[in-house]
């Protein structure tokens, strides 16, 4: 069991020059075989390992990460967590996730800095206001909190917004999910990793999986850069690389991989204390606790694995931001980056067993799977432990494409986050 983190521990360590902090997780070397191998050390993979160990006592588990854990999308996302989804299947799932997030700091004994500051989606036209009422009512019926703010109320809460009546995209109000917020992304990975490791899970970094081996329709292990590792259960949670890893097991997925950019400004003193999203201008922004504005926008519109984006998209995202926050114009961009996201036609994930027995797919999170990490890991673990899909995720199985029963969340994901 890892040493408990506390202020007292910090003081005690200070007296010994911080010389005896234990490792957050072991540098495990892969064993020849495991009961469960999880491919991908992002949020979903590691959370799955954690819940397998904690909730189901399954600890003969390895997480195999090709680089460093959290180096995928989880480590480069804009950290918005929310549950304002329109289809009941999604609402139930994402709200479960939000509730897990709310108590995750205590559970993991690792401060994930969940800052509940609300997601404020701007309404730029009377039609958008009408549509927002539809969303609000749907959310309420789904048991999700939501409120609509008048222009005046919004002005009081976010005074820096562009309330000019002749603005290109005038602001008529906003729809807010108060329980939404931001979470320190790296902490989620590290916190789960520490918890999983403490329960015996092996986290193996620099261990790329080059193939999933299946015989007679059943998985029996994975080939890696460190050799073959046998396993009767394989969970694939590799986000932007889903199509590639699945292909090694002969599975095609309804996924295209696109770049999604994000960027930060130089740190400034606090000036924004909610997440603001403007569908019309294609930008969203929050201010981190360090003071940078964390800015996101839409996808680069071409498939790519290059993990970089085009400057045209950077520029239009920034221009969109300045339309809603003109006073940010003199701030400076400090860093811009991109992740590669797995986009699915209906903007809903794939969670469920694969056509190959023993293999579970956790993929298709697209631009918004950070918020889903606790629930994604929890339900994936449950399904592995029970050898059947948890009822909450049944609608998200791969089979929905053959049935044509898509779970269209395009409206909830008009813009990436």
């Amino acid at each position: 069991m890892a040493a408990s983190y506390s202020s007292w521990g910090l003081v005690r360590q200070a007296t010994v020059g911080h010389g005896s902090w234990p490792r957050a997780w072991r540098a495990a070397a892969a064993k020849p075989s495991y009961r469960v191998v999880i491919v991908g050390g992002g949020g979903h993979g590691i959370a799955t390992a954690y819940y397998l160990a904690k909730e189901h006592g399954i600890t003969d588990v390895a997480v195999l990460e090709k680089g460093w854990i959290g180096g995928g999308n989880t480590g480069r996302n804009t950290t918005v967590v929310r549950s304002n989804y329109l289809r009941p299947e999604s609402a139930a799932f994402y709200d479960f996730s939000l509730r897990l997030y709310e108590r995750l700091t205590a559970e993991l004994n690792f401060n994930i800095m969940f800052s509940r500051r609300g997601l404020t989606t701007l309404l730029h036209s009377p039609h958008a206001v009408n549509a927002a009422w539809g969303q609000l009512n749907t959310l309420h019926l789904n048991g999700i909190d939501a409120e609509i703010l008048s222009r005046e109320e919004l002005q009081r809460r976010v005074p820096l917004l562009n309330f000019a009546p002749d603005a290109r995209f005038p602001i008529h109000g906003a729809i807010v999910q108060p329980r939404a917020g931001v979470v320190r992304h790296d902490a989620v990975v590290w916190g789960y990793a520490r918890g999983a490791d403490a329960r015996g899970v092996d986290i193996v970094q620099n261990c790329e999986v080059t193939g999933i081996e299946a015989r007679d329709g059943r998985v029996n292990g994975v080939h890696t850069r460190q050799g073959f590792i046998a396993a009767s259960q394989v969970v694939m949670a590799v986000a932007g690389s889903s199509s590639l890893v699945a292909a090694t097991a002969g599975i095609r997925l309804p996924i295209m991989t696109y770049p999604l950019q994000a960027m930060v400004t130089e740190p400034i003193k606090p000036c924004l204390d909610t997440v603001v999203l403007s569908p019309a201008t294609g930008s969203y922004v929050s201010q981190s606790d360090r003071g940078e504005l964390v800015i996101g926008g839409g996808l680069d519109r071409y498939p790519s694995y290059a993990q970089r984006g085009s400057i045209a998209v950077t520029a239009s995202t920034v221009a969109g931001l300045l339309e809603i926050f003109p006073s940010f114009s003199r701030l400076k961009l400090m860093r811009q980056w991109a992740g590669m996201v797995d986009i699915i036609a209906d903007s809903s994930p794939i969670l469920g067993f694969a056509p190959v027995r023993g293999m579970f797919i956790n993929a298709g999170w697209g631009t918004g799977g950070f918020k889903a990490i606790p629930a994604g890991g929890w339900t994936t673990a449950w399904s592995i432990a029970h050898q059947r899909e948890h009822p909450m995720i049944a609608p998200f199985s791969l089979g929905r494409f053959a049935r044509g029963a898509l779970i269209d969340e395009a409206a909830a994901a008009v813009i990436a986050h």
Binding site: A164, D166, A167, R168
Partner: protein
Amino acid sequence: MQAEAIIAPAPVAAAAAAAAAATVPQDSGLELLPLPTRGLLSFQVSRQSAGALSALRSALGFEPPSRPNSATSLHDVHCLWISPRHWLIDSEPAAEERLFAGLAAQARAMEGTARVTRSSDCFDSVLLSGAQAASLLARGCALDLRDVAAPPNTALRTRFADVPIILYKLRAATFRLHVDVSLSHHLWLWLADARESFDSEHGR
């Protein structure tokens, strides 16, 4: 620039005039001139064929462009390559009827695989000229339009100032721009704004 209140309709003409008003004497290296409506005809064929070129040749009386992104002309009739299946004939409005008749006859002869469309109404046009014309264009268009890269008679469709345009380089440092009529005010506003900052930079 101050965002124009989109609620208050400002006639295109006014914005165009504003853009043009910024036009300064000859030596400024940049002249911007809204053009009166041109006679424009689109000639389209269903598939690429030698027949299309010979039809054009017969109707126009001169050789149509054989290379993409180029134009040929005789007197004030210009034939612009738009796509392998589409040419734009840009002429004096007075010549439009005659050209239309000739092209329509050719199209008929091609039995439904060709079509002529009157496009004059679809475009507003502006002439941009002077030593600085290319550098003004460079503020809104990613293509290399300097004489070294884009010789006279270059004609192409691209984006400029965030709107699709047909750009025709008549001769060195002289460009004719055709912009969709429903978007032309956007282009004028853009040009007026660019013009202003251009002038201020050059100390005017």
